[in-house]
């Protein structure tokens, strides 16, 4: 379940979930703000995490994307990392990244994933050890998907 074998649960939480990239993106979120264009809000009623994703598509490329909202460190870091991962990509590429990301964080099989293809997003891989927090990581992505589809709201329910 972890990149190092036989970590205690506490160590998984402290070292794998709340690792440096996550803490950095939580402390200094990238692309915080608002873009005039497509936008959608994601809201998790169970915990109160809320994120609004806005973006602009020019010549088939997401050339501007930002997020606003309040929520836990996982949801903020995921939103921040997401904006970096999809900026400069086409909507189709963004959706493909989302599918792979979703598969990564919901994989509770214990099999080691190949993290190389994920870049900085790999920092969120630790969330799969805490099923109750998976929705925190996927919320901004559901909002992204909704925005790309022209919807204005998304939920992880």
């Amino acid at each position: 379940m972890a990149s190092e074998p036989n970590l205690s649960y506490e160590e998984v939480v402290i070292r794998e979930l709340y690792e440096e990239t996550i803490l950095d993106h939580n402390r200094r979120p990238r692309n915080r703000g608002h873009i005039d264009g497509l936008k959608a809000e994601g809201y998790n009623p169970l915990c109160g995490d809320q994120v609004e994703v806005s973006l602009r598509i020019t010549d088939g490329i997401i050339d501007a994307i930002a997020f606003e909202g309040h929520g836990c460190a996982i949801s903020v870091a995921s939103a921040s990392l997401m904006t970096e991962a999809v900026k400069g990509k086409s909507p189709e590429e963004a959706k493909a990244i989302m599918r792979r990301f979703q598969a990564l964080v919901t994989d509770t099989s214990g099999i080691e994933p190949d993290l190389d293809e994920f870049g900085d997003l790999a920092a969120l891989a630790g969330v799969r050890a805490l099923p109750v927090r998976i929705k925190c990581a996927t919320l901004p992505w559901h909002a992204l998907l909704a925005a790309l589809a022209g919807d204005t709201a998304a939920t992880t329910e």
Partner: protein, 426 residues
């Protein structure tokens, strides 16, 4: 001579020796549900092994035994609540169902007003909204102060505007710990011709309740918070009021006679207990009440005459528990104040062992996850009090809540966990 033997109490609760992620369990989520003593667990076991049958006085032996146990439980709850008669105690599946039962039974007209407070749990807001919407009535909030107390001046003013049918108010807030002046609020409500329902979900485990002293028209209990099984609640209502109300659920056992030409209903309490109830759960609650009473009698080294024994034991128990809780809450409050960047939410002078707080540098979710990794169980989120969160400009808080078996070391573990949170996020 009163004594508080924490170790002896903790030994009564088997789950307290559990380990969580390899750490000792520090269970600080008692406002969500309480743990159960062996006396309750053994009673459930004995019931299903030797007494189980459906109730309502079937002719066979086991049904007689089960029926008597269920009826005895009702009498115990009568004593627990200080009700005038046991028929005024209705068993429900929870506190929420009790409130819905009353909301469903209210005769509301357009323009009628229902007052609730900003600190209410959703179970004491939504049923009234549903009922009000059907009838063209309104639900209005009584404001609260920055330290989490009811604004009594505003309450008086709202009542004075007239047309208030019912006031629904929480006794002890699950979001703040505030203990509300429900007796005073009941008197004011009645002076304006309004009824009052008191939500006693958190009060049950923390304070001795006397519904006649409060003069509550309705009072709801959440039994699983009082060291009893889940799936049981109790609703107290004054006889005259319950008799006026239409049934909540129709079915077996709440009827007198059924025919296609018309059906007549059973008298209270059975009018409001359709179908087979959570018999074992109710009997389990009786065992919890007796457990508390026995604890009270033992703590004071007294014995009481049989007739008043249960009530006397409960009086003594809550004397001891209240004193213990005050001191432990003060300890927890003091230790929490050591944590940099921590703000307590709910600092009323009169509050119970419910400690909600926020940290400048970490979200409750993250706090809760890190605390969990250290074996500390707290609750994070809006605690089913979204209007309360909004009042304080918050999305969520972290909440630790105490019970009779809570130990100082559990508070210490909480603080150590919070220092860990600070090291990571601060």
């Amino acid at each position: 001579m009163r004594s508080f033997d924490l170790d002896a109490i903790r030994k009564e609760f088997p789950i307290l020796s559990e380990e969580v992620h390899g750490k000792p369990l520090a269970y600080l989520d008692n406002a969500a549900t309480s743990q159960k003593p062996a006396a309750v667990l053994d009673r459930l076991d004995h019931y299903y092994k030797h007494e189980n049958a459906n109730i309502h006085r079937g002719v066979h032996h086991l049904s007689q035994i089960a029926s008597k146990a269920y009826d005895d439980a009702r009498k115990s709850v009568q004593t627990f609540l200080g009700a005038a008669e046991d028929a005024e105690v209705i068993f429900t599946k929870g506190c929420t169902e009790g409130i819905n039962l009353v909301a469903n039974g209210l005769f509301l007209s357009p323009g009628d007003r229902i007052l609730i407070s900003t600190m209410e749990h959703h179970s004491n807001i939504v049923p009234w909204q549903i009922a009000a919407q059907k009838a063209g009535a309104t639900v209005e909030p009584i404001p609260i102060s920055d330290i989490g107390e009811i604004d009594l001046e505003a309450y008086r003013a709202l009542l004075a505007q007239g047309n208030v049918k019912l006031v629904a108010i929480v006794h002890i807030s699950n979001g703040l710990g505030t203990i509300n002046p429900v007796k005073e609020m009941a008197a004011l409500a009645h002076a304006h011709g309004a009824m009052i329902l008191v939500d006693g979900a958190q009060a049950g485990p923390h304070r001795r309740i006397d519904v006649q002293d409060i003069d509550a028209d309705f009072y709801t209990l959440s039994c699983h918070k009082i060291y009893a099984p889940t799936g049981v609640g109790a609703l107290y209502g004054k006889r005259a009021l319950l008799e006026q109300m239409p049934p909540y659920q129709g079915g077996g056992d709440m009827i007198w006679q059924v025919s296609f030409a018309g059906t007549t209903y059973a008298p209270i309490p059975r009018k409001f207990e359709a179908g087979t109830p959570n018999i074992a759960g109710v009997i389990g609650f009786d065992a919890a009440i007796r457990f508390l009473s026995d604890f009270g009698l033992k703590s004071s080294g007294s014995s009481s005459d049989e007739e008043n024994r249960l009530g006397k034991g409960l009086d003594l128990a809550f004397d001891v528990l209240e004193e213990r809780e005050r001191s432990l809450t003060a300890y927890a409050t003091e230790r929490l104040s050591e944590v940099p960047g921590l703000t307590l939410i709910g600092t009323a002078p009169n509050k119970a062992g419910v400690l909600a707080f926020v940290l400048d540098y970490a979200h409750p979710h993250d706090i809760g996850t890190i605390l969990d990794s250290e074996g500390v169980a707290v609750r994070t989120g809006h605690h089913c009090c979204q209007p309360l969160m909004k009042r304080f400009g918050l999305g969520a808080t972290t909440r630790a809540s105490l019970a009779m078996y809570t130990a100082e070391w559990e508070i210490d573990n909480l603080i150590r966990g919070l220092q860990r949170v600070r090291a990571i996020f601060g």
